[in-house]
Amino acid sequence: MAEEVKKQRTPPDPNSAKYKLGKIAADAYKDAIAAKERGEKVAWVSSNFPVEIPETMGIATVYPENQAAGIAARGAGTRMCEEAEADGYSNDICAYARISMAYAKLKSCPEQDVAMPDVLLCCNNICNCMIKWYENLSRDLSVPLIMLDIPFNPDDEVSDAQVAYVKGQFLDAIKRLEDITGKKWSDEKFQEVMENSCRTSRAWLAATAMARYTPSPFNGFDLLNHMAVMVTARGKPEAAEAMETLLKEYQENHETGKSTFRAEEKYRIMFEGIACWPWLRVTSTGLKGRGINMVTTIYADAFGFDYDSFDNMIRAYCKVPNAINLETARDKRVKLCKDNSVEGLLVHTNRSCKLWSGFMPEMSRQIGAECGIPVVSFDGDQADPRNFSEAQYDTRVQGLAEIMDSRKGGKTA
């Protein structure tokens, strides 16, 4: 009998962007655990809370949304969701929140353990479910909650009054954090963090914009992995350096005709919504197997912040995708579609995210009409695997491919 020959994995190149970005994301969890062991305070932070504040003050951070995504991607979404549901949380609530509430109770999940918090930093510019989620964490863990209210903006621009309203909260948050952690705010350090954050963001946005080339020098699913660093560590110099490496690699790929999309790129689509983390491989291979490259997604670009002052930082946080009006949000997506020669739109109707999925039927209709592309949606969930059907997904993606093929003069239809 022949011996089984196992394929040797190529060790990751420590100079590659993939290695550097993966290390930064993994180190963030380790650093927080080490800080906790040293007796320092740890903050749990919502994704669109200004990372510049804890980074400037040297406070170790954990991002429960990233933790929940990691837990879901590693197969523990159902177990953790059911734990929360057994405690009375409805399965209609965001699965990130359910996983986080379960973790707050269990304080253990081998799929992604984290340091427990001494303070919670929450901002509602991404969604309002976040408020109740963090209030419950605060109650259950008996730790203080610092809440930034950045309201939905129905106007096209951020007014001076809105900046003043949010700025007052920023300054109050800094004062409270100084009292809780004993660490001090430094304007010089903030300047440094701001420069790092902008440098990281510029490289990230330039890298994602490389999708304008056909074929794209990357598989869009790469962005979903790399963006963890954008969410958690964009104020660190090593993040800026890693993102610049990523940009360089994509430029080299373009110049040499290479791509991280390991198939012939027959069609180019935009993906709308948060990734379906429990089914990432299925959703990815369902596209790649048909030569469909997801070249762009607003979800990735959402975490690129470029500004030059404290006030403009506030303006940037008032303009994150979920806090702006439908027309502005639509126009950003239409630009991505046009800049990147997108031929179809695949919408993840994410059962966890009522806000995002609620406005998508109308917004995607408008995007489809403006760009002249087919729009297809599928049911799924960012972290609860029970809300997804592989067969249903496959039919929709095949249907989308058939329409795109037909438009190119193929024989599908």
Partner: protein
């Protein structure tokens, strides 16, 4: 030269053979994916056409179980299949409503009969053939009798729940309170029509509208849909075979 299309659905298997642009044989078996249904449908369609497997130049599979049918040269989605099949049956069709066993879809065709867009139901079973099956079971009547009973209704009973399980409770409550069975059946048909009409409005109704799939045979649902959408709905007695027909036509196109 013969071309075969097989539609492996969740509850039924259908097979159609075409030659020179004409249907020469077909079969429908009440067994779907995971059963001997697809094999039987294929054999019966061949027999109906007086053909043997060697006569088939190309076979295309569609439907929920399209990937599990090993005899296919290619698969296409049921969306494209129903689009092609209905364009053949109704050359002027621009909107195809297909209510299958476990999903509902509305397909927009361009002037050349090519699929331009589509919308499918969400994860909820309401508005699908399965919903009708569950309700027929509650009423203890064969699913084929729903149409007959719906035609006898004086006033459709309101079945408002979007959830199949909740709607089942509503049906039981209606029966318990003495609502005549035909009125309950008409309410069930209206409930399906209401869900599917919402999908159709999202795609945009373009005439001619036609109905495909097994539920097309249910006049109660068809009439309720016509009322809700305000347009006549064409249908064929071969509606349930339209997916398999489309697959067979695709096999033919592909080979030329």
């Amino acid at each position: 030269m013969h071309f075969a299309g097989i539609d492996v659905g969740s509850t039924t298997s259908k097979c159609v053979l075409v030659q020179d642009g004409e249907m020469i044989g077909s079969a429908l078996v009440d067994m779907g994916i995971g059963t001997a249904g697809p094999e039987r449908a294929y054999s019966e369609a061949l027999a109906a056409a007086g053909a043997v497997p060697e006569d088939v130049a190309c076979c295309v599979a569609t439907g929920y179980g399209r990937s599990s049918w090993k005899g296919a040269d290619q698969t296409i989605s049921e969306l494209t299949a129903h689009g092609l099949g209905n364009h053949f049956l109704f050359p002027d069709a621009r909107t195809v409503i297909d209510i299958g066993g476990q999903d509902a879809k509305v397909i927009e065709l361009d002037a050349n009969g090519r699929m331009a867009n589509f919308v499918m139901n969400d994860k909820c079973a309401a508005g699908t053939g399965r919903f009708l099956e569950v309700m027929a079971n509650v009423l203890r009547i064969p699913i084929g009798e729903l149409e007959v009973l719906a035609a006898q209704a004086e006033q459709a009973a309101p079945i408002s729940s979007t959830c199949t399980v909740f709607a089942e409770s509503e049906v039981i409550s209606q029966l318990a309170s003495g609502t005549p069975v035909p009125d309950v059946v008409a309410g069930i048909c209206a409930s399906v029509a209401s869900r599917v009409a919402a999908l159709a409005k999202r795609v945009g109704i373009k005439e001619q509208v036609c109905m495909s799939g097994g539920v097309a045979q249910n006049g109660g649902v068809r009439r309720a849909l016509e009322q809700t959408l305000g347009v006549p709905i064409a249908w064929s007695s071969q509606a349930q075979l339209a997916g398999a027909l489309g697959a067979a036509l695709h096999a033919c196109h592909k080979s030329h």
